[in-house]
């Protein structure tokens, strides 16, 4: 219990700016992944990376402000991301069954 109460203090050993920069870097890596990769699963992983960057940022802000609502939001994001994964993987499996590939470059039946 005592250790639990120390966690915010441990987090505060690192300045808040570092968390913001780190999360932003992770988020940008996710965006670049979404924009450049062709494999649907990798794109999907990049989206998850973006969501986890958000989770980290929320947890850091929440500790610094001693306000639990940020961490509650993290739970919501995790639960919703899990639901999204279920639907997303189902869509990818459905496509794989039809065309035996998940390369998004093949999917050009509809012109942009």
């Amino acid at each position: 219990m005592q250790q639990m109460q120390q966690i915010p203090d441990v987090i505060k050993l690192i300045p808040l700016n570092f968390y913001v920069l780190f999360s932003s870097a992770l988020f940008c890596i996710g965006i670049v992944g979404v924009l450049t990769r062709r494999n649907a699963i990798i794109i999907f992983m990049s989206v998850e990376l973006m969501l986890n960057a958000v989770n980290l940022l929320l947890a850091a802000f929440s500790s610094y402000r001693a306000d639990p609502s940020g961490q509650i939001f993290v739970f919501f994001i995790m639960a919703v991301a899990a639901a999204e994964v279920a639907v997303g993987l189902a869509i990818i499996v459905m496509i794989y069954r039809n065309i035996q590939t998940i390369d998004v470059g093949i999917l050009n039946k509809l012109k942009w």
């Binding site: 940022l57 929320l58 609502s69 939001f73 997303g88 990818i92 039946k109 509809l110 942009w112």
Partner: protein, 466 residues
């Protein structure tokens, strides 16, 4: 508020109704469920409540938006006709249940008081729509549309969430009235850069969902690939809910730092109007044209959503209602004509020429199509005209001249491509056999057409309520 709880239960009930080997009962049951939800929703009229520890707020604004959403849902369900008789490949109970669940998400987006609820509502709506887009499992276009919608939607959610996290970092609150107060004090000059970046990212995330340019790239593909009935649902319910959320944020929480986002939004409004209308001119496919038309209507709505003045909310509501009713009847005509041609083993492509010669054997369908096209184009004596009129006069009163001029010019462009459908129906040679309409289908089409005309003659019937 009870409508959210009721709709969740009704959705589960619908799943169980699927066990009965009787498809006929699903459609009336779903219609009854939506009507009950509409009644529960209207019971909150003239009361201001906070629910679930300040998570949701119901007031007249939210009741109005939720009513528009529920009316649109009712009309879409009424024209769905039980999803055909293909026993093996369609699952109507699940489709109706997912539609009801997605309406729960839409109502949460309208009533949210806390950004957590905005996010959860948006995701309930979006995840349901990903599933519905991909329901035509054997059709590669539907598959592709589902994947594109899913990847783009998840990407947009990531951007929205990062924005919410930054706003939380700057203000320490998820409550939109808390944020509003903190933003107002911060606007004095000491606001951290995090706040501005966060606000812009939240706006981008929501603009993705309402398909405003330059975040519209997914829209034509998804609208074209998805089954027509779900496209109709997507372009009405999702758009109304998205604009309600955008309006509540821009008109409430973010008003303090008006100056940072207003010019970005003016620019994006003009871009949306120009891209939506000009690209729609070049479309061969009627469905794709309606997708670009929905982008351009997002532009008109953005013109009002940017500020909270006395009449703004009623203009947005009236426009959403007029647009939803007209779009649903256009899609209904398209669906019934495409299905008839398909059952005659003709090649169908949902292009404009599908309507060639429609008026000869099906005067009612041609008339319904004409009225909906006139309404979307904004010709007088239809609801769409008053929708545009209210929006333009609001914009004029607020003195935003340049976007207004662009909007007026672009609505003139719009007349060209909407009239292409009318010309096909009345003046082109072609052969559409006389179509036998089911009573509920016929009634729905007559109701939507009458609604469009009545609101076009007497807009105050509804406008005074909003």
């Amino acid at each position: 508020m009870n409508s959210i709880i009721a709709l969740s239960l009704f959705g589960i009930a619908n799943l169980f109704l699927g066990f009965l080997n009787n498809r006929k009962i699903l459609l009336p049951a779903t219609l009854a469920f939506v009507l009950v939800a509409l009644g529960l929703n209207l019971a909150d009229w003239n009361q201001e409540y906070l629910w679930f520890n300040n998570m949701l707020r119901t007031n007249n604004l939210s009741v109005n938006f939720a009513s528009v959403i529920l009316v649109a849902t009712f009309l879409v369900v009424a024209v769905s006709r039980g999803f055909g008789d293909d026993e093996e490949h369609t699952h109507p109970a699940e489709y109706y249940a997912i539609m009801l669940f997605s309406v729960v998400g839409a109502i949460m987006m309208v009533t949210f008081e806390n950004l957590i609820m905005l996010f959860v509502g948006l995701e309930i709506l979006s995840v349901s729509m990903y599933i519905l887009t991909g329901t035509d499992k054997r059709n590669l276009r539907s598959n592709e549309a589902a994947l594109k919608y899913f990847l783009m939607g998840a990407f947009a959610t990531g951007i929205l969430l990062f924005g919410i996290a930054l706003i939380y970092g700057a203000t320490g609150s998820f409550n939109i009235h808390g944020i509003e107060a903190l933003v107002l004090t911060a606007a004095g000059g000491s606001a951290p850069a995090l706040l501005y970046i966060g606000i812009v990212m939240v706006i981008i995330g929501l603009l993705f969902k309402v398909s405003a340019a330059p975040f519209h790239f997914w829209t034509p593909d998804v609208y074209e690939g998805a089954p027509a009935i779900f496209t109709a649902f997507m372009s009405t319910v999702v758009k109304t809910a998205g604009f309600a959320a955008l309006f509540r944020l821009l008109g409430g929480a973010f008003t303090g730092v008006y100056g940072t986002w207003i010019y970005i939004l003016y620019f994006l409004t003009m871009l949306t109007l120009i891209i939506g209308n000009i690209t729609a001119v070049y479309q061969q496919s009627f469905k794709r044209m309606l997708a670009y038309s929905s982008i351009s209507h997002a532009g008109y709505l953005m013109l009002t959503a940017t500020a909270k003045v006395a009449h703004t909310q009623s203009s947005i509501l009236f426009y959403s209602l007029a647009y939803s009713v007209a779009t649903i009847s256009a899609f209904a005509v398209l669906m019934v004509v495409a299905e008839t041609k398909e059952s005659n083993a003709e090649k169908t492509n949902e292009n404009f020429d599908i309507f060639n010669g429609l008026a000869k054997n099906n005067p009612l369908l041609a008339f319904v199509l004409t009225v909906s096209m006139l309404s979307l184009a904004g010709i007088p004596l239809t609801a769409g005209f008053w929708g545009k009129f209210f929006i333009f006069s609001d914009a004029f009163q607020r003195g935003i001249v340049v976007p207004l001029v662009v909007a007026v010019l672009m609505s003139a462009v719009g007349i060209y491509y909407y009239f292409k459908a009318i010309i096909s129906a009345y003046f082109k040679e072609g052969d559409v056999p006389a179509i036998e309409l089911k009573p509920i289908y016929k009634i729905t089409l007559i109701v939507t057409t009458l609604l469009t005309i009545v609101l076009g003659i007497a807009p105050d019937l509804v406008k005074s309520i909003f």
